[in-house]
Structures are given as C-alpha cells and as structure tokens.
C-alpha cells in the first residue's frame, strides 16, 4: 500500500519509561524501516509492552523521542497517533466483549469512517468467521477468533505501522501458526509491522530485524537470521520457545482458544 522504500516509519530514540520508582524502560532506541517487519523480543517484564505503550501515547516517555515518518510525536495523545496511522493490536486483545463484532470493527475505523465499507469487506474477506457472526457480541468468540478480530479492527484504522503486542499469547500451536500467517500476509501487502513477542523463535523466523530486551534495555540487535543463530539468544530465549508457555501464568488465564469465557 504505502511502502516507500526509503526511510524509517518509526524511530524510537533513547526512550525512558517509569512507573513511580520503577524504571520499566531505560533508554531504548530502535528503528523500523518502511515495509519491514521488526520484532522486539525478551522475557516477561523486560519492558517490551512499556516501550509500545510509550510509542502509542498510552504512557508518557520520561525522556527520549518517538518519530513517525521523521515527525516528533513524543507528546501526541493516543487518538491523534491512531489517526496518523500508528495503530496497536494490544496485549490480551482488548476486545469489547459486550459490543458486537461489527461494532468492534466500526470502532476500529473511528478515524477512517469514509473507508468503513471497503475496510469491513476486506476484513470479512480475510476472516470469514467474523463475517458470519458479525451481529453477535464479541465476547462469544474464542481466543483465536478474538485475536483475528483485534487484528481486523486494527486494519480498519488503515495503519501506517502496526504495533502488535504478543499476538500469539495463550493460543494453541495451530492458532499460533495461523496468527503468524496473518502477520506475514499483512506485511507482504506492504504494511510496516513492529511485533512484540515472547515466542522469540517464531517472531525471529518471521521478522527482518530483531531487538532483544532485558530489564528495560536493548541488549542485542541485528538481522533476524543472525539473532536466530546467535548463541546468547538461543540460550536465553529460544530454548523455551519450543514448548508452549503456560498461558494461565503469562496473562492471567482465561484465553484458551476454544474455551474463552466472555469477559465481563
């Protein structure tokens, strides 16, 4: 779609985030070139989600800068960023369970009302299961379907860059494959993606470039293929990626694929 080959869509410079006395992010810098898929990996609590929150304007960066297409957006509020195409698929999906599937998607197009019809057609084409159940409350969807809804909702905002926070979390292996398939397709269509994942192995396989975070800092970065071959990364993160993490531990439970209870 809008893949100008040159230049970075997103540039994060020395961003710091703290919650009270706790420093969650300590000077993270990263670059996401246009049309690329960049992944940010690391253990739980490494500061990945806080970095995303700072990019999206959900928390204030204490120091540092966030640039989108070269423009300083550090102080922008979240709704303005979404309008500019900085769109997040949040951790835990954040589906609006009491609203219908269609209403969730309509809200995704909050700033893109003119393109709602074509956007809906596009998303329903991608995820036929959503089309079939469009008038049902989103809480009736299974975990995997909710993830598709969250992605579809983000696509309706016509993202310039899509920020995905742990999209495979708590999903069965087959659904993880499906989600990564969707991500790769979105990227193949020209949308720039920054993918935050604990499933480091899968994320690095899909990505062009990777950043590894630990205790609030980027400790390693490089082309994804090199990170996959890097002993330190393999030892620290990939060893555990081959057996599924327990979703109940990682996100508070309740998101098993076909038994997701409606969240109230």
């Amino acid at each position: 779609m809008t893949a100008e080959r040159a230049g970075a869509v997103l540039e994060v410079r020395d961003v710091h985030v703290s919650y009270g006395q706790i420093q969650a992010v300590r000077g993270v810098s990263l670059t996401v070139p246009s049309g690329s898929l960049v992944t940010l990996i690391g253990a739980n609590g490494a500061g990945k989600s806080s970095t995303l929150a700072a990019i999206c304007g959900l928390v204030r960066a204490k120091r540092g800068q966030v640039l989108v297409d070269g423009e300083d957006v550090t102080r922008w509020r979240s709704h303005r960023l979404v309008e500019a195409g900085v769109v997040q698929v949040p951790e835990g999906r954040e589906i609006l369970a009491t609203l219908t599937i269609e209403e969730n998607l309509q809200l995704g197009a909050w700033h893109q009302g003119r393109h709602l019809a074509e956007g809906l057609a596009d998303v329903f084409g991608r995820f036929p299961v959503l089309a079939d159940r469009r008038r049902l409350p989103a809480g009736t969807l299974s975990g995997g379907e909710q993830q598709m809804l969250a992605i579809g909702r983000a696509l309706l905002a016509r993202p310039r860059i899509l920020l995905m926070d742990e999209p495979s979390m708590g999903l069965a292996p087959m659904l993880v494959d499906e989600v990564f398939g969707v991500i790769e397709r979105i990227r193949a269509e020209g949308t720039t993606v920054l993918l935050v994942e604990q499933n480091a192995h899968r994320a690095l396989q899909a990505a062009d470039h990777g950043y590894v975070m630990e205790t609030g800092e980027v400790i390693l970065e490089g082309p994804a293929s090199e990170l996959l071959a890097n002993e330190r990364v393999v030892e620290a993160y990939l060893g555990e990626a081959f057996h599924e993490p327990d979703p109940a531990v990682s996100d508070g439970g309740g998101r098993f694929p076909d038994a997701a209870p409606p969240r109230c």
Partner: protein, 291 residues
C-alpha cells in the same frame, strides 16, 4: 385510569432525571451528585427565560436544555477532570460533586432567593383532553411527549450512533477505547453534557408540571433518582426508564389509595422489595469488578 396517567406523567420526569444519572455512571463509573443541582438550575433558568426575559415557553425549555449541557461541561471540568488519574478518583469525585452542588444551590439562593417561584397565570395553554375516563391537560401531554422523545432519543443515540458506540466502548474498557483512537476525554465531556441536559430538562418539566420552583427541589429528587437507578440496574438506561415509571406510579397510587403521608413509605418499600428479589436491579447485569 386517571391515576395511571398521572403516574406515568410523574414517572416520565423521574425517568428522565434518572437516565442522566445512570448515563454518567454507566459510561464513566462515576456518580455525579451535582445532578440534583442541575435539575434545580434547569427549572430556574427556564423560569428566568420565560418570565423575566419573556421568551415563549418552548424556547425557554430549549434554553434550559442548552444551559444544562453547559452546566454538565462545567461540572466535568471543575469537579471531575482535575481528579482524573488519582487512585481514589471515584470517591474524590463523589465528594467534589457534592461540594459543587452546594455551591450551585448557594448561587441559586443568592440570585433567586428562598421563596417559591411560579409561572404567572395564563402562561400555559389551558385546554384539556379527555379519553378513556381520564383527563389530561395539553401541557401534561407536551411534557410527556418531550420526556418520552428524549428518552427514546438517548437510547437510540447510545445504541446506534458512532458516538454511542464510543460511549459503550469507554464504558466497557477505557484503555481499549484509547487504543482504538477514541478521544476518551472528549467522550467523557460529551457524556456529562448529555447527562446534565437530561437533568435540566427534567427540572424545567417538573417546574412546568407543578408550577413550583424552589431551591430545595433538587434534594427531594436526588434520592429518588438514586433509588431509581439502583432498582433499574446501575448503568442501565432502559432500567432507569422502567424504574422511573414504577416510582411515579407507586407514588401516585399510594397517595390516591392510602394517603399522601404514606407516599414515600410505599414507594421506597416497593423499591426495597424489588431489590430483595433482584439484587442487581430490574435490568441490571451482574458486574464483576476488576480491582
């Protein structure tokens, strides 16, 4: 029959008032206790416009509605916005809205004085309509029509419009709403303005219905409004409508059948009975509080 008509008539005003209450509570989880002062000021402003400024009655009502919206804006800015982000924002907002209500009542007392104001004779159309054994005045019919129109309009707005979707999104999950690019602060402000417009409409309609405007008129309805939204189900707009109508009917019938001294006993006793049978209110859902 006459009692039924009167009950629906009174109940529709209660319902309108309670919907304003429950709108803010449902969307924002905040209880705005300055709502009763908006009700009172709506009545005074309508009276001011109609009697002092000589506006036609319909224009005075519209003026009172608009003034209500502005009051809602002020309430949000003064009593709630500065507290946003505090861990105790809910409780603090409760207290600061009580404080603001006291200020508003004091201002009204300063401007209009403690006496009961009335519309001069001949302000209202005197025609009456009889049907099915009941007699209603044209004024009553107009009040009922305004109240019902506003109730249905609000329901439609929340259920079927873009703004309504955003309000429901904020109600369910403010963080998700923010992620979707909704300006949560603006939705909050608009919600307060709508709520207060309903409150002040209820005030001016009440004033027209009983031709009596007093500074304390908000206090009497405050408790009733709270009871109605609890019985209807906290945050439920149809619940507030239903609860308001029930309260109106219960009051009118207990006055007619038992005696006016028993009005509140019967009305509130009935409300307690409903809560015993349905603890979450008539149309309320079980809410799981996330801490």
């Amino acid at each position: 029959m006459q009692q039924l008509v009167n009950g629906i008539f009174l109940g529709s005003i209660y319902a309108l008032f309670a919907m304003g209450y429950t709108l803010v509570f449902g969307v924002l989880d905040l209880l705005n206790l300055a709502h009763q002062a908006v009700f009172m000021l709506g009545a005074f402003i309508g009276w001011l416009l109609a009697v002092e400024f000589g506006w036609p009655l319909w224009a005075a009502v519209i003026g009172a509605v608009a003034a209500g919206a502005i009051l809602g804006l002020l309430i949000e800015r003064i009593a709630f916005a500065p507290l946003r982000g505090r861990p105790d924002a809910h409780f603090a907002g409760l207290i600061s809205s009580i404080a603001l209500a006291i200020v508003m009542v004091a201002v009204a007392l300063g401007i209009f004085g403690p006496q009961t104001l009335r519309f001069p004779p001949g302000s209202f159309p005197s025609a009456r309509v009889s049907f099915a054994g009941a007699t209603v005045s044209v004024l009553q019919l107009v009040i009922l029509a305004v109240a019902v129109t506003m109730m249905l309009g609000l329901n439609w707005l929340v259920a079927s419009t873009r703004l309504g979707r955003a309000m429901r999104a904020v109600a369910e999950n403010p963080r998700a709403a923010r992620v979707l690019g909704i300006n949560v602060e603006r939705v909050t402000l608009i919600t307060f303005m709508l709520s207060s417009a309903l409150g002040s409409t209820a005030g001016i309609l009440f004033a027209l219905a009983f031709n009596s405007i007093r500074v304390e008129m908000g206090l009497a309805i405050e408790l009733k409004g709270l009871a109605v939204i609890i019985v209807g189900g906290m945050g439920s707009l149809p619940g507030a409508m239903l609860g308001g109508l029930l309260l109106g009917l219960a009051e009118v019938f207990s006055v007619a059948r038992i005696g006016s001294g028993w009005r509140d006993v019967v009305a509130f006793g009935l409300l307690f009975a409903i809560l015993l049978l349905r603890p979450h209110g008539l149309l309320g859902r079980k809410r799981v509080r996330e801490v």
